[in-house]
Amino acid sequence: MTALLEVEKLAVSFGTMRAVDAISFTVESGEILGLVGESGCGKTTAALALMRLLRGATCTGAARLADVDLFSLDEPAMRARRGSDLAMIFQDPATALHPTIQVGDQLVETLRTHLNLSARQARSRALDLFRKVGIAAPEARLRAFPHELSGGMCQRVMIAMAIACSPLLLLADEPTTALDVTVQAQILDLLRQVTREAGMSVVLITHDLGVVAGMADRVAVMYAGAIVEMAGTDRLFAAPRHPYTRGLLASIPALDQGWDEPIPTLAGSVQSAFEVPGCRFSPRCPLASEICRSAPSLREVAPGHFVSCWNAA
């Protein structure tokens, strides 16, 4: 059986800067893949590349969604898939919605673009969707403008828009980062519920390992444009192999950890890691050795567990 989404050697460069470095991964049908990394690691760029929404960038590699190569489609065919077969949710709901169009109209527009619906049908479908994403008083909210809604409410509208045409794959780019903790819990709960119900696959992009632990089936960790480790969620958290993943996990303060101890840290910062020859993590790596001057590739160290490191135990 082939996976729903197969990404092969996806690389993105802006001029001479390689933002994404030949990453490969798959997403099974109904699966949630967490794509984790710090800011600038290329996770958002990878998602936009899949949507083919990057301008001024060179993308190479292949991405097959339900056996259709997205990169070989012509623009109209790709456009027909955006919003219907694969949809995307963005980080900041306050700016992702058009400020002077009523949110209901923005949703109806999506529906009518992809489904052959009359204005009235689309309107009633929009109403259903608003109910589904838990928007109270949906009739009135359809006529609201984004600035009249709270951040959480805007993100619910974004989710309604994304699931409107029952996409096969949902790309969720930091969907809760801009929200408060209590609202984040609501939105994550909603996301889990709507995608599970529809059997939708999700690529969940986030910097928050906590969010991934609760949501994802599998996790891919990115560093400076490359996937450095990929495994089932339980396994990745229980037995991380890559020194970056380990450092990252160790540096998260836990609620029940003693407040008096220092937190283990990763030395240095991500800055300019893109210029490092060989393994890009090597300048910060406690295990770095001579061999790290040549770039490692992702290898399977246990069934379904991939690591890109020469010295990983």
């Binding site: 800011s39 903790v181 906590g210 540096s251 836990a254 407040w259 937190i263 840290t265 910062s269």
Partner: protein
């Protein structure tokens, strides 16, 4: 209890908005921090936690109430005392990019900070090098511009500026929120070490409970301009009294899949109300799962449930109060 270094007594801060509305950023806050202690302050956006921090260091003056530093009312200080108060209270900002003048080198920023305080140029320069070193930055950073260094290094420079006047009290206003996970831990360790070696008293503000939990022995929770619960960290996380605190704790995603599967977050209704339209009665009743008619009518007083655990709730989750209202 140890000697109080800084106190907020009945502090209220209102902002006038267009159209005659009033934003109550702080609405009657009482708080005391003992010398050498670190108090954590958590809350969501609009809770007033940053405003409280700014009022505590004197960046803003309270509309009502007063800030006392070593028993001295900051608003009534004479000029000589004011100078000392400024030196003694410093702040570390959330966004290190906005906290440094983009047209000044790191060295000049710190030197200017000290020169205003009356230091000579030579002394200021030496001190700048010294505090940068304390913050893990070598002398080569003296002549660096903010855009030439990383976010974590920028935050170190901001911290260096704050400790350059040898303050007794520091407000750290979301010092790690703008940073990446791997740099975050470095900065937290740095603040912790400085706090120890210099005996600093600190108010550590964050929206992230796990960060606060790691940095502070005592934690206060704010909601819509008021402190709703305050307790030692262990007590607060194990047995919170206020339903809001409980919801906040349960909402934190844990980086542990096994525990995540069993975690059942308490999902609150809706979102925090607009701080310019504080609900009548208990300000949390619009979202509270335990709200009753009493809560809709009467604003609960802060009560002490044990010597160090206080909460403002009519229907606390676990215990009964041991004493009545505290002063």
């Amino acid at each position: 209890m140890t000697e109080k270094l800084i106190e907020a007594i009945g502090v209220t801060r209102h902002y006038k908005l267009a159209g005659g509305r009033v934003l109550r950023a702080l609405d009657g806050v009482d708080l005391a921090i003992g010398r050498g202690a670190t108090l954590g302050l958590v809350g969501e956006s609009g809770s007033g936690k940053s405003t409280l921090g700014r009022v505590m260091v004197g960046l803003q003056s309270p509309t009502e109430g007063e800030i006392r530093f070593e028993g001295l009312n900051a608003a009534a200080a004479d000029p000589a005392q004011s100078v000392r108060l400024r030196r003694q209270r410093q702040i570390v900002f959330q966004d290190p990019s906005g906290a440094l003048n983009p047209r000044m080198t790191i060295g000049d920023t710190i030197i200017e900070h000290l020169r205003v305080q009356g230091w000579s140029r030579v002394e200021a320069r030496e001190q700048a090098a010294r505090v940068l070193d304390d913050c893990g930055l070598s002398a080569s950073f003296l002549s660096a511009y903010p855009h030439e260094i990383s976010g974590g290094q920028r935050q170190r420079a901001v911290i260096a500026r704050a400790i350059s006047t040898d303050p007794a009290f520091i407000v750290a206003d979301e010092p790690v929120s703008a940073l990446d996970v791997s740099t975050r831990a470095q900065i937290m360790n740095l603040l912790r070490d400085l706090q120890r070696t210099r005996g600093l008293t600190m108010l550590f503000i964050s929206h992230d409970l796990s960060v606060v939990a790691h940095m502070c022995r005592d934690v206060a929770v704010m909601y819509l301009g008021r402190i709703v619960e305050i307790a030692p960290r262990g007590v607060l996380f194990k047995s919170p009294l206020h339903p809001y605190t409980a919801a906040l704790i349960s909402a934190i995603p844990l980086p542990d899949p096994a525990r995540e599967r069993t975690r059942r977050p308490i999902l609150l209704k809706g979102e925090p109300p607009d701080p310019s339209a504080t609900p009548k009665g208990c300000r949390f009743h619009t979202r509270c799962p335990r709200a009753t008619d009493l809560c809709r009518e009467v604003d609960p007083e802060t009560r002490a449930f044990s010597s160090a655990h206080m909460a403002a709730c009519h229907h606390p989750l676990t215990q009964a109060p041991v004493e009545r209202t505290i002063a």
